[in-house]
């Protein structure tokens, strides 16, 4: 089961990460992405194909102290 930010996302299978981010309205200049515990650099987004069982975290900055 693919999980993105803690939620099941079976529909993402086979897409590149770049496609997934574009289709879901993420601003790629404002985020960082971790796949299965490893950070993916921005230039890898378009070549990485989302696999079954991938655990993906998409993070950005929010207010904090």
């Amino acid at each position: 089961m693919i999980k993105i930010n803690g939620k099941a996302a079976p529909e993402a299978k086979g897409n590149t990460l770049g496609q997934y981010l574009d289709e879901n309205g993420y601003n790629k200049t404002r985020i960082a992405v971790e796949v299965n515990g490893s950070i993916l650099s921005k230039k890898e987004y378009d070549s990485y194909i989302i696999n079954d069982e991938d655990i993906i975290e998409i993070v950005n900055f929010v207010g904090g102290g």
Partner: protein, 253 residues
């Protein structure tokens, strides 16, 4: 010579590090401007697509200081720091390792471990810590760029409860000591600066004020006043009175 705050070779005119938590994005620009702040802290969390992004509300030229809030150990702090750097906003990081939800006190041991790893990776590491001299020395050896001792529990606005211990750090540690957490009002920020702190970090005091931009300005003035007082050299304290007016030439006899 201009009085600058220097952190890992980076120079700042302002000695007020502003937090960005717990108030609306619309007020951030005014708060930063009124505070005269040149460094602002941020947190890293799971992204919501299509949501407004805080980076669009922070004026250009401000140094971003992501924190590792949410980290319960060194490993998690390192993970958050690396992700923060990947967003692409510089090498600064404020290490925050907490696993006590009641008082939110930092774990100095895990903080030292995270500092050592991240400093080796080229981060400019600014650890939030409980003011303990031995831990501060370990942080220096681990490669910290500044030390950020707490004044009181995060968000409490109680002031500098740890005053005497922060004074020891200021005396003994050869890095900027930045009082972080607990400072609730401008007079307390001024007190930290009078003691010789290099800077003050505040968030909740501003975020919970009635007029956020106005309170940011009040802190700015207090921090500047405290710094100037510290540089001036404080007047002495004595037990008995010492007349301020001449003791001769009275209109009598």
């Amino acid at each position: 010579m201009k009085d600058k705050l220097i952190i890992a070779g980076h120079e700042f005119n302002s000695r007020f590090i502003l937090g960005s938590g717990k108030y609306s994005l619309e007020l951030i620009k005014a708060a930063v401007e009124n505070a005269g702040a040149e460094i602002i802290t941020l947190a890293l969390r799971r992204a919501n697509s299509n949501a407004d992004n805080i980076l669009d509300y922070i004026p250009k030229g401000i140094t971003l200081l992501p924190n590792t809030s949410g980290a319960r150990n060194a490993e998690e702090a390192v993970r958050i720091a690396r992700l923060s750097r990947e967003v692409g906003c510089g090498d600064f990081v404020k290490i925050e390792v907490i696993h006590d939800s009641k008082y939110l006190l930092p774990d100095n041991y895990e903080t030292i471990k995270a500092t050592e790893i991240l400093a080796k990776e080229g981060f400019i590491v600014m650890p939030y810590m409980y003011p303990d001299l031995n831990a501060a020395r370990d942080l220096v050896n681990a490669g910290a760029a500044s030390i950020m001792p707490l004044g009181a529990p995060i968000g409490s606005n109680k002031g500098i409860c740890t005053k005497d211990f922060i004074k020891i750090l200021i005396e003994e540690i050869d890095l900027p000591i930045i009082v972080d957490a607990g400072i609730g009002k401008p007079s307390q920020a001024c007190e930290a600066m009078e003691m010789g702190a290099a800077a003050v970090m505040a968030n909740t005091a501003i975020a919970t004020a009635g007029d956020i931009p106005a309170m940011a300005e009040a802190f700015k003035k207090a921090i500047e006043a405290g710094r100037t007082a510290y540089l001036s050299g404080m007047g002495r304290v004595i037990e008995k009175a010492s007349a301020s007016s001449p003791l001769t030439g009275f209109l009598q006899d």
